[in-house]
């Protein structure tokens, strides 16, 4: 399989001695028409990888900000076919790596084989299935791997060593570290256990590690950029979109500044 855009990105950023800035967007928030425009703003402001979140009716891993965004997107008629359409539009203007970020059910309902083919055709590079554990993963990720999509899994502070090994084995592209126990959302202080988690995962894999959950300010992002290969900012960006779209570009530029080590 040729390298995916995700794999190329981390090669590049590692060579440049910086961390990749990863932005999470709820696709279709506030409307499916707006998302490609928002993505263009993010790319302009220095985002290296975009996670396109598929809105779900019951986002159990998400805090209030992304819950609200999901509800807005669903109300605006966003579904998985529309998210793929959005990806296609982003791809027509940019080579930014795209990671489809979804709860399992919408993907299952769409059909995983069909999703794999259609996502690849839309220019998506990888998939993260939020509620797919490695124990259940074998049957679900094969269709994605078959078409050359990266499969990214979550590692958490609660994960045992056995689990961290499995997560690393199942992941391609990078491993997503959940920096703290809890739902998505901004936090005042950075998790004190992130460094420990990064060390534990580094011990079992050479894959790049990106950390997310609770990272919102430029200071926090810069601190994480010193430890991890990628920094994910989600709720803070989604909140900025909710409150003032005009403020998005300067906000993200400030985050991108901190990626240099």
């Amino acid at each position: 399989m040729p390298q995916t855009r995700i794999q190329q990105l981390f090669e590049r950023t590692q060579k440049d001695g910086r961390a990749a800035l990863i932005a999470y967007l709820t696709a279709g928030d506030p409307t499916p028409e707006k998302t490609p425009e928002i993505a263009a703003t993010l790319i302009r402001a220095g985002v290296d990888l975009i996670e396109l979140g598929v809105p779900f009716s019951d986002p159990v891993a998400d805090g209030p900000v992304i819950q609200r965004a999901s509800a807005r997107a669903i109300d605006a008629g966003t579904n998985l076919p529309k998210v793929l359409e959005i990806a296609k539009q982003i791809r027509s203007h940019s080579e930014v790596p795209l990671l489809l970020f979804t709860y399992l059910n919408p993907a299952l309902h769409y059909g995983l084989e069909k999703l794999a083919a259609d996502a690849k055709a839309a220019g998506i590079d990888g998939v993260l299935l939020t509620d797919l554990s490695v124990e259940e993963a074998a049957a679900f990720m094969q269709p994605l791997r078959n078409v050359g999509l990266d499969t990214v899994f979550l590692a958490a502070p609660t994960s045992t060593e056995r689990r961290l090994k499995l997560v690393s084995e199942y992941s391609t592209g990078f491993v997503y570290l959940v920096s703290r126990t809890g739902v998505t959302g901004e936090r005042v202080a950075l998790s004190e256990t992130l460094g420990e988690l990064i060390a534990k995962v580094r011990a079992v894999t050479t894959l790049p590690l990106a950390a997310g959950f609770g990272i919102s300010t430029p200071e926090q992002a810069a601190a994480v950029a010193k430890m991890a290969d990628g920094v994910v900012v989600g709720s803070a960006i989604v909140r900025q979109i909710e409150q003032d779209l005009n403020g998005l570009e300067p906000m993200v530029r400030a985050l991108a500044e901190g990626m240099k080590r």
Binding site: F56, S57, D58, P59, V60, A61, D62, G63, Q67, I74, N79, L80, Y103, L104, N105, P106, A107, L108, H109, Y110, T130, D131, L132, S133, E135, E136, F153, L154, A155, A156, P157, T158, S159, T160, R163, V167, V178, T181, G182, V183
Partner: protein
């Protein structure tokens, strides 16, 4: 021999069940499973559980022959498994005691739970009071409105009731919110899930804490009738009372097992909670199972007059029993459940919970054409909590000068 050793070691009932949760919860679920398996094999734990079920909750519950109801219908003999007579008024206390003992054993001092009708919330608040544990109950605001009495009971017992404003403001949203709490506070907290659903080991563990219902009923009917029943009927929301009474009868292939889902206002999507009427397998709240969903794979809106049955998923073991044909599933609409509740009240002097009234309705519908047959209906809860809904739906009984006609 069917299904006796289900689930398999990874929590699957045939293709259903499993463990579909964010990674943060995976290790805690492994830890819970291990603790449960150890406790199950520990005679001391089992003795403490048996002691509390007997002296505190009131087990065993009677199997009661409904002579007048049977004669009124003129067909099959109807027996009720009287879970409504348990402390707190429903079967839910069996599981609440079991899991609270387990939480204590695991050193967890903070308990969270979801509740629909409020019966599981009351049972959880009760055991938390008994064991001195902190108790937080998540409940949809719509359910808080329609089960006000139980909200008050929980608070009286010292629990904090958190209203959930998301989505349909019912059981589905209460479970999602409880899961978010658990993800956040997993080190200190046990999630005392109230039905035979969710990620492994919950469907197995909750069933095991409830299987005493079927074991007792089976022994009693053998003594009272000298034979096994022809049919066992139970209502199915998540499915804990149904799997609890079915389980002992699964190897008895001549015994028909009938689960009754909530038919709501109609069988149009959005108007009911009958997962086998148009639902398809999907993943939500930790398991792969039948689910009512929209064409986009979102959880569908559900409706039932009974908050305890108003839920978008069915427990995974029921999904397997359905596909195997070992159990059959049917539905009862809101109106028929209300009528069945009145019929039972006036022939037997027993006011059932609206959930259980769905099972009673199915027995009433079947009995006239099956003389000579013997039914056991799981009367999973009593109806006090539903007084407001009965009043709303039966205004003629609520007038100052009302004197209902007798049967």
């Amino acid at each position: 021999m069917m299904t006796a050793s289900q689930p398999d070691s990874t929590g699957h009932f045939g293709p259903y069940g499993g463990r579909f949760v964010p990674e943060v919860l995976m290790a805690p679920l492994e830890e819970l499973e291990l603790a449960y398996r150890e406790a199950s094999a520990d005679p001391e734990f089992q003795a403490e559980l048996a002691n509390l079920l007997h002296h505190y909750a009131g087990r065993p519950t009677p199997l009661y022959y409904c002579k007048r109801l049977t004669e009124t219908l003129g067909g099959a003999k109807i027996y009720l498994k009287r879970e409504d007579l348990l402390h707190t008024g429903a079967h839910k206390i069996n599981n609440a005691i079991g899991q609270a003992l387990l939480a204590k054993r695991m050193g967890k001092k903070r308990i969270i739970a979801e509740t629909g009708a409020g019966q599981h919330g009351v049972a959880t608040a009760t055991v938390c009071a008994l064991f001195g544990l902190e108790c937080i109950i998540y409940m949809g605001e719509e359910d808080m409105r329609r089960q006000r009495l139980n909200v008050f009971r929980m608070r009286l017992l010292g629990a904090t009731v958190v209203g959930v404003k998301n989505g349909t403001r019912t059981l589905k949203d209460a479970i999602s919110e409880a899961m978010r709490d658990w993800v956040t506070n997993v080190h200190t907290t046990h999630y005392l899930l109230g039905s035979a659903l969710g990620a492994h080991p919950y469907p197995m563990m909750v069933r095991d804490f409830h299987k005493c219902m079927g074991i007792e009923a089976r022994a009693d009917i053998l003594q009272m009738e000298g034979r096994l029943p022809d049919t066992v009927i139970a209502c199915v929301g998540g499915g804990s009372n149904a799997i609890g009474i079915f389980h002992a009868f699964i190897p008895d292939e001549g015994v028909k097992l009938v689960g009754v889902e909530a038919g709501g206002r109609s069988l149009q999507l959005g108007e009911h909670a009958a997962r086998f009427e148009g639902g398809t397998p999907g993943v939500l709240h930790g398991a792969y199972t039948y689910m009512l969903q929209t064409p986009d794979g979102q959880a569908a809106v559900t409706h039932s007059v009974s908050a305890g049955l108003d839920y978008v998923l069915i427990g995974p073991e029921h999904a397997m029993l359905h596909d195997q044909g070992r159990a059959e599933y049917t539905s009862c609409n809101d109106a028929d459940a209300l009528t069945a509740a009145q019929t039972l009240a006036r022939t037997e002097g027993i006011i059932p919970a609206l959930e259980s009234a769905h099972a009673v309705s199915e027995a009433i519908a079947r009995a006239p054409s099956e003389p000579g047959k013997v039914y056991i209906v799981n009367l999973s809860g009593r109806g006090d909590k539903d007084t407001d809904i009965y009043r709303e739906n039966l205004p003629e009984l609520d007038a100052a000068d009302s004197n209902p006609t007798t049967f």
